[in-house]
């Protein structure tokens, strides 16, 4: 049955996205308008950028629970620097570097100090968050710089800035992952680190780099969000790592053995964005979305693990 097997090859995520679109099309008038569809892509773009970094980390069998806080704090850094009179370009550069430095420490904790990734990132995330709070006294810092706001509101060659940035970042990430030794190492790190070590690869360095890169991407996302809200607020994005992890897993990257890839994550990001957007258009309050999306992500993870166990022929003890 060739027709059936072709259909069977389409990843289930696409089916779910299609199903959601049909449901929303029926029950949420206003979902299928050009404006709203563009909105979905604009909303999905920052999530894609941060999820790309998360995907790389998860490919190494790691996790980064600090991205949401890192994002917020980098936004705070930029806002704070601009408020104290730094020109925008310098503020963004310094903010990004500071954030990336923190996350570099994160990488060191995991790679050389051998801390479990979730505790290292939670601990450091908490510290970074603390710095962000102390810097601003826990307040939100308004941003009036219009050039900065261009990073979210502007357009380049007809493309809204977030989409443009996401495309560029994805291009870089693709080249990095699939056409450089770094990418090969990342993929091998999750699959078989011992083989890598025997092959003479500096595992510690590769691991540190992955976390640093993920933090850098989180920083870019944080800046886009700060531009969107025209403010820097440390707690603004504290729940983003959950969406990023969810998008990665739903897309089909697994916590085990380095299976998956950044291409798949696009689908996961789309699914979460469509889900969220549709709920918004249908008038479901944010409060309900929180628990609902948490449940969807958990179910996706359970399916992923169960599916893997089934294909591997029986669960282990």
């Amino acid at each position: 049955m060739p027709a059936k097997s072709a259909l069977w090859k389409i990843p289930p995520v696409i089916w779910i996205i299609a199903l959601l679109c049909v449901l929303y099309g029926l029950f949420a008038p206003g979902f299928f308008t050009f404006r709203n569809l563009q909105n979905i892509i604009v909303q999905a773009s920052p999530l894609l950028i941060v999820a790309l970094g998360m995907t790389m980390v998860i490919l190494t069998e790691g996790i980064d629970l600090s991205v949401g806080l890192t994002m917020g704090v980098i936004g705070v850094f930029c806002a704070f620097l601009m408020k104290t009179g730094y020109p925008m370009g310098l503020a963004v550069l310094l903010g990004l570097s500071a954030g990336t430095f923190f996350v570099f420490l994160n990488g060191l904790l995991v790679s050389t100090a051998k801390l479990p990734p979730f505790i290292a990132t939670l601990g450091l995330g908490s510290m970074v968050f603390g710095f962000g709070l102390v810097l601003t006294g826990g307040e939100s810092v308004p941003i009036s710089n219009s050039a900065f706001r261009f990073l979210h509101d502007g357009t380049i060659i007809g493309l809204p800035m977030p989409i443009f940035l996401a495309v560029v970042v994805f291009g870089f990430a693709w080249i990095l992952m699939y056409h450089t030794p770094f990418g090969r190492n990342v993929i091998a790190l999750g699959g078989n680190p011992e083989a890598l070590r025997v092959a003479g690869v500096n595992i510690e360095r590769a691991q540190t780099l992955v976390y640093t890169l993920a933090g850098f991407l989180a920083g870019i996302t944080g800046i886009i969000i700060a531009a969107r809200t025209a403010s820097g607020y440390a707690a603004a994005t504290y729940d983003w790592e959950f969406d990023a992890i969810g998008a990665t897993i739903i897309g089909g990257t697994s916590f085990e053995e380095g299976q998956g890839g950044i291409g798949k994550t696009i689908l996961g990001v789309l699914l979460i964005s469509v889900l969220r957007n549709g709920l918004n258009v249908a008038g479901v309050s944010n409060k309900y979305q929180f628990a609902f999306i948490g449940l969807v992500v958990l179910v996706a993870i359970i399916i992923d693990v169960k599916f893997r166990q089934a294909t591997e022929g029986g669960a282990e003890a």
Binding site: I119, A120, A291, G294, L295, I302, Q309
Partner: protein
């Protein structure tokens, strides 16, 4: 084969018990902190302040009890803050709508137990990595709390309920006595019963535990359920003490609860640790916070300190581990 693995697990278990350096270091830290604080402030060594520190530490200790059991099996429960908030909010809502106090508390603890059991299923039966499963539960619990509260804060709870957090038995605050009783129960469970032995064995060597006939699934279900219950009880204590409940009330407790456990010498790799250690860990953390307050340092700094303490403790544990091997 299975006998050999089991013997090996027992040997490893014994070996870890023999490392005495770490507990001495911890007690020394606690005493040093007390000394520093006594020198810093003449108010420190007063009955009122000591009682105050103990009362502040109760929530951390209670959360730490269940969390210790989970971490001993080489698991983790990142949902404790979320469960605490949900149970606090739910109980407050129930009390406000006139549900009798014991029933409201029982429902709150029941919800904590259910969420914990849910974690247990995800980890022990479905086989998700513990930090993923419990992180998901955290979001679900916080989401449910959001739905329940619709952005409001509840205060003005019945006086009889507030007693568990703010009342006294003779001159000792009720929460301290409640916590002491719970700690004793957990201590006995972990160190004097076969269930406790199974928990340690599971964390020391999962495979050996499985082959020596320990019901690995049942132990996982049990420890996560216990953690849900203790987080729920902490939620009740917190709500009663504040006389208020709001969605964000669990926020600091995940990091601080975890800091107490790892600083108390319970290894994230499982199999090593004790309730006594966790109590000392919670006291150290409370004293650090108390000291920051005495020095007039902003509470915004607490995040930095808690994060740093966790990293140091986990790092110290891995160094000690290498050293003792």
């Amino acid at each position: 084969m299975s006998v050999r693995l089991a013997t090996k697990a027992i040997e490893e278990f014994g070996h870890h018990k023999r490392t005495l350096l770490a507990p001495i270091l911890r007690l020394a830290t606690l005493l040093a902190l007390c000394l520093i604080l006594t020198l810093l402030s003449e108010n420190f060594l007063t009955w009122n302040n000591i009682i105050n520190v103990l009362r502040q530490s109760t929530m951390l200790v209670v959360i730490g009890l269940g969390l210790t059991a989970v971490v001993l099996t080489a698991g983790i429960d990142l949902s404790v803050g979320g469960v605490l908030a949900l149970v606090g909010c739910l109980t407050a809502q129930l009390l406000r709508s006139g549900v009798p106090i014991p029933l409201a508390m029982l429902i709150g603890i029941g919800v904590g137990a259910i969420l914990g059991y849910f974690n247990g299923i995800l980890v022990g039966i479905i086989g998700l990595p513990p930090f993923v499963a419990t992180y998901g539960t955290k979001w679900i619990a916080e989401g449910l709390a959001l739905i329940l509260m619709q952005g409001q804060i509840i205060f003005g709870l019945p006086k009889a309920f507030r007693w568990i957090g703010a009342g006294y038995i003779w001159i000792i605050p009720a929460p301290i006595i409640i916590t002491a009783v719970l700690a004793l129960i957990f201590h006995i469970l972990l160190s004097k019963t076969t269930i406790g032995y199974d928990i340690y064995a599971l964390g020391t060597n999962r495979e050996a535990a499985f082959y020596s006939g320990i019901n690995v699934r049942a132990v996982s279900l049990l420890v996560y359920t216990l953690s849900g219950i203790t987080a729920a009880i902490a939620g009740l204590l917190m709500t009663a003490r504040l006389d208020a409940a709001e969605v964000g009330m669990g926020e600091p407790f995940l990091m601080q609860g975890m800091a107490s456990v790892v600083m108390g010498g319970t290894s994230l790799m499982g199999g090593v640790g004790s309730i006594g250690g966790t109590i000392i860990g919670a006291l150290i953390l409370t004293l650090v916070v108390n000291g920051l307050n005495l020095l007039g340092i902003s509470s915004l700094v607490h995040n930095i300190v808690t994060g740093g303490v966790i990293l140091l403790a986990v790092f110290g544990d891995s160094v000690l581990r290498k050293y003792s091997e």
